[in-house]
């Protein structure tokens, strides 16, 4: 035995750092998960929505009489019918200075401002009856000129989409750090490019779903949501409907993908709540795929004019970017639609040493669906702009792009570091990550292969992309701006009489493996088998209060709460066991569900004996000893506003210069997310994230015409990554534990999506280089590549 007791991470029976399969995946593998649409409640009604067919139109008159008369229809409502049942919401945060948006309602009042905005709703005995009735609703529309493009919305003299706001500029921000003009003046090379990022959307396998069950007898409302943040949803509903805090419960069972899509407040879902309150019956709404395309939030839509100054010796002297982004007619509630652009200007260039950085952000209203936070908020834009500029700079001074990165990345021994935009980096590992990447992909070997193949007319490209990733956000992210979004999470552990542990925690599960990771931590710290820990999530009445799972905060914040709760329960258990065994608690340990002598490891009693004594045989305990077999702890990040991670991605692809088709051959990721609790789940977060980024880079685009009409709103027309087009993805890790927590874990959910589009863009442009062509407009479709080649 060593003098120092082993840490929770090093104990031989620790699960931390082990690739444990997810126990809760078994039910999903048998088709026995429970998603919202799988719930069966008595007297259930089904809601369907009439949506605006126009991007911008006045609603002159709605006649619902014929719809209301149809068999099976219980109620048809328009905005007028819901008046007084709710209060409208406004998607602003007070710390985003000068930000504005307009009040939003469950159903459009007198004007529809995007194609897909809900205008009327039917509640009926079946979904089919509700949809049939929609066809009987007569609306007299007056079409108004739509402002679909950001440029049109911002043009001088453009009418304001919300008259009361005066113009269509929702938010603007500038950053000017260091001496940018001076740096450009003394540069040996200056390169400029305009990068365009199309609108795309989340395409969750399970569409948005909500079931509102209202019991008029006790005025209790239970919401079954497909959501990442049940406590936030509860707080939001309390703010806008006349319900008592104690009378509202939000439950999330299985969630069929979310990626940020299902964390926002949607007018159709608020209508469902209003209908349930009106009708005193449970009401369900499950979006169909077609309406998902025009009612789920969209992502991105940026045009970024950017330039970089570089010296002959390979020093990046300055970066200057101007981001113009379109967010639809309303800023999304309660996170706003300004955070995406704000993160672009915060993040761009931040992993390089140059102190000279200028950025302008303009966030603009337009007549398209609302745009808001989707996986890797702002990151892929910031990364593609930065890494695209770095490759352009390398070409301008004829330096290898890996070499230019190497010379400019923040050095691994330079931390803590403050970026020009003010981001604080506690400790990152860019240099080691790049070194690892170049070895893993055999960079020099690939360059040789590329050269040899070029001589044979085969055009392959190598693209690198370094990045940072925001995880574990603290209260300065949303809470400070007035949003009811908790930055802390709580974990409550209960020893059951039979020696198992029930763990209720406020972070949530959408398939990432949250429950497994939490169980691994609790089991390891407490000293029990994983199978003895039952994790409960996704229920405001059964878990402590907390933020949920988003922004890669589940393991870093929820995991730390679980670790501290397990330590506390462990101490309580040992106190009780010590009394039972007449031994000092400090001389005891818990190993594999047994109370053992810490020194010898000899088994004394099982945890079930401790549980039984605590709950049933208080008569055998010393006077004055009250067993406390529940322990609760909370955690919130305080030392730094965010726990940044870092990494680098690389893409190897082949370009068919006759057709413009890109074939992805291989993708690599090196990532440093601090301590890994479950490497298998970390890898899969990265791989899944990469493929979402590859979709944005190559396929996904919500195509709009000038009238603001979506032209590809089906899964047959909107392309998503499928198995056949995707490459194998190799992942490697560095582990720089996060200071300030015992667990030391950072998040990992954004990293893949953050860096993949940049790596692919750089690889395509590398393949295009011999032709003097380049692309900067995502997605990089065959048509765009052929245009760049001058072939169409």
């Amino acid at each position: 035995m060593s003098e120092q007791p082993l840490s929770f991470f090093d104990r031989p029976n620790s699960y931390i750092g082990k690739s444990v399969p997810r126990p809760n995946a078994q039910r999903l593998l048998q088709g026995r998960g429970v998603f919202v649409d799988d719930l069966r409640l008595p007297r259930l009604l089904h809601a369907a929505f009439l949506r605006s067919p126009y991007a911008h139109a006045r609603i002159k008159r709605i006649d619902t009489a014929a719809a209301a008369r149809r068999a099976g229809v219980v109620r048809v409502v328009t905005a007028a019918d819901l008046a007084g049942l709710y209060t409208p919401w406004v998607g602003v945060l007070t710390h985003l200075k000068g930000m504005k948006s307009a009040p939003q309602h469950p159903l459009a009042l007198d004007r529809a401002r995007w194609q897909g905005e809900p205008v009327a709703a039917v509640a009926a005995e079946t979904r089919a009856a509700a949809e049939d009735a929609l066809a009987e609703i007569a609306v007299e529309w007056e079409e108004l000129p739509p402002l679909a493009s950001v440029e049109a919305a911002l043009a001088p003299g453009a009418p304001a989409i919300h008259e009361a706001l005066g113009d269509n500029l929702a938010f603007t921000r500038t950053i000017d750090a260091g001496a940018v003009d001076d740096a450009f003046d003394r540069a040996d090379a200056v390169v400029a490019e305009t990068f365009t990022f199309a609108r795309h959307t989340g395409v969750c396998p399970e569409p948005r779903s909500i079931l509102a069950e209202f019991n008029p007898a006790d005025r209790r409302l239970t919401l079954y949501c497909s959501s990442q943040a049940p406590h936030m949803m509860k707080e939001i509903v309390l703010r806008h409907f006349p319900l008592a805090e104690a009378d509202l419960r939000v439950v999330c069972h299985d969630v069929g993908g979310s990626y940020g899509i299902k964390i926002h407040v949607y007018p159709d879902e608020m209508t469902v709540i209003a209908l349930a309150l009106m009708l005193g019956r449970p009401v369900k709404f499950v979006a169909d795929r077609l309406e998902s395309f025009v009612s789920d939030i969209h992502a991105r839509e940026h045009r970024v004019a950017a330039r970089v100054a570089v010296s002959k010796s390979g020093e990046i002297l300055a970066i200057d970017i101007d981001d113009l982004t379109g967010i639809g007619p309303f800023s999304t509630y309660p996170r706003t639609s300004a955070v995406e652009g704000n993160q672009v200007v915060n993040l761009a260039g931040s992993w390089y040493r140059s102190p000279n950085y200028r950025a302008r952000l303009r966030v603009v209203f337009q007549n398209k669906p609302p745009m808001s936070q989707y996986r890797a908020v702002g990151h892929p834009v910031a990364c593609a702009v930065t890494e695209g500029l770095v490759d352009l700079a390398a070409r301008a001074i004829a330096m290898d792009p890996a070499e230019l990165r190497w010379r400019n990345l923040i050095a691994d021994d330079a931390y803590p570091w403050k970026s020009p935009a003010g981001l604080l980096f506690e400790k990152l590992s860019h240099q080691r990550a790049l070194e690892r990447m170049l070895g893993m992909m055999d960079y020099t070997g690939l360059r040789r292969e590329q050269k040899a193949l070029r001589a044979q007319g085969v055009h392959r490209g190598i693209g690198l992309a370094c990045f940072v990733e925001i995880t574990n956000p603290g209260p300065a992210f949303y809470g400070v701006g007035g949003a009811p979004i908790s930055a802390q999470d709580g974990c409550s552990l209960r020893l059951e009489p039979g020696g198992t542990v029930t763990c209720a925690i406020s972070v949530t599960e959408q398939g990432q493996g949250t429950e497994t990771v939490v169980a691994q931590i609790v089991a390891s710290v407490l000293g029990v088998a994983l199978a003895r820990v039952r994790v409960v999530t996704g229920d405001t009445e059964r878990t402590p209060y907390g933020g949920g799972t988003w922004a890669s905060r589940g393991t870093g914040i929820g995991g730390e709460a679980a670790l501290q709760a397990a330590k506390a329960l462990r101490a309580n258990v040992l106190t009780l066991a010590g009394a039972m065994l007449q031994a000092a608690p400090g001389g005891l340990d818990i190993v594999e569900g047994w109370i053992v002598d810490a020194g010898t490891g000899a088994r004394r009693i099982g945890l079930e004996e401790v549980g039984r004594a605590g709950y049933f045989r208080g008569d055998t305990l010393p006077p004055g000893l009250q067993p406390e077999l529940v322990a609760t702890r909370h955690h919130q990040p305080r030392d730094y506003p965010f726990a940044f991670t870092n990494g680098v991605q690389a893409s190897w692809l082949e370009l068919d210069v006759e057709t413009g088709f890109v074939r992805l051959l291989k993708h690599w990721v090196v990532e440093d997310c601090g301590r890994m609790v479950n490497p298998l789940l970390v890898d899969e977060q990265i791989r899944g994230g990469v493929v979402q980024g590859l979709g944005a880079a190559l396929f996904e685009e919500c195509l709009y015409d000038a009238a603001g009409q979506l032209r590809n709103g089906t899964l047959a027309d909107y392309l998503v990554p499928m198995a056949a087009e995707m490459p194998d993805i190799e992942v490697a890790h560095l582990e720089t534990p996060l200071a300030g927590t015992e667990l030391g874990a950072k998040g990992v959910g954004e990293a893949g999506t953050a860096g993949a589009p940049a790596a692919v863009m750089n690889a395509i442009n590398d393949a295009l280089a011999p032709f003097g062509a380049r692309v900067a407009e995502q997605p990089f479709t065959p048509a765009r590549i052929l245009r760049a080649l001058g072939r169409v």
Partner: protein
Amino acid sequence: MSESVEIRLTVNGAAVTRRVDARQSLVDFLREELGLTGTRAGCEHGVCGACTLRLDGAIVRACLLFAAQLDGARVETIEGLSDSGEIADLQAAFHRRNALQCGFCTAGMLVTAAALLRRGGVPSREEIRDFLSGNYCRCTGYCAIIDAVEEACRARAEKASP
């Protein structure tokens, strides 16, 4: 639209007789009438593959068929394939490899992969990717799914010719 049709069919080995609306899709029939919610409606236009099931031995999209077409048919869903143990090895491989995250597409993915397994032999990764290219997964990035299917194919092939 209101016409109804009586159908007699076999679902997961059990005889079922029902009168169904002529317009009811197979996926809605299974979910609403039989409570077999493992078959999921993801797009309802035949693209995402979440509703894939086995009909008379072949894999089909349950959102593209009407229940009324199924008189005399033999339907096998994820619930039946799980209970019979036919795909236990595939499910175990998916579990070990974490070849699912949210799980919404998983039943369709397994039913499709099971059809590939029944062909025998060990397909290349490319062939596996091609075979699964009609099943949309947004979470995993597909690598783990390909790995798991490959592993299950290999294990069955080894068992068949030791």
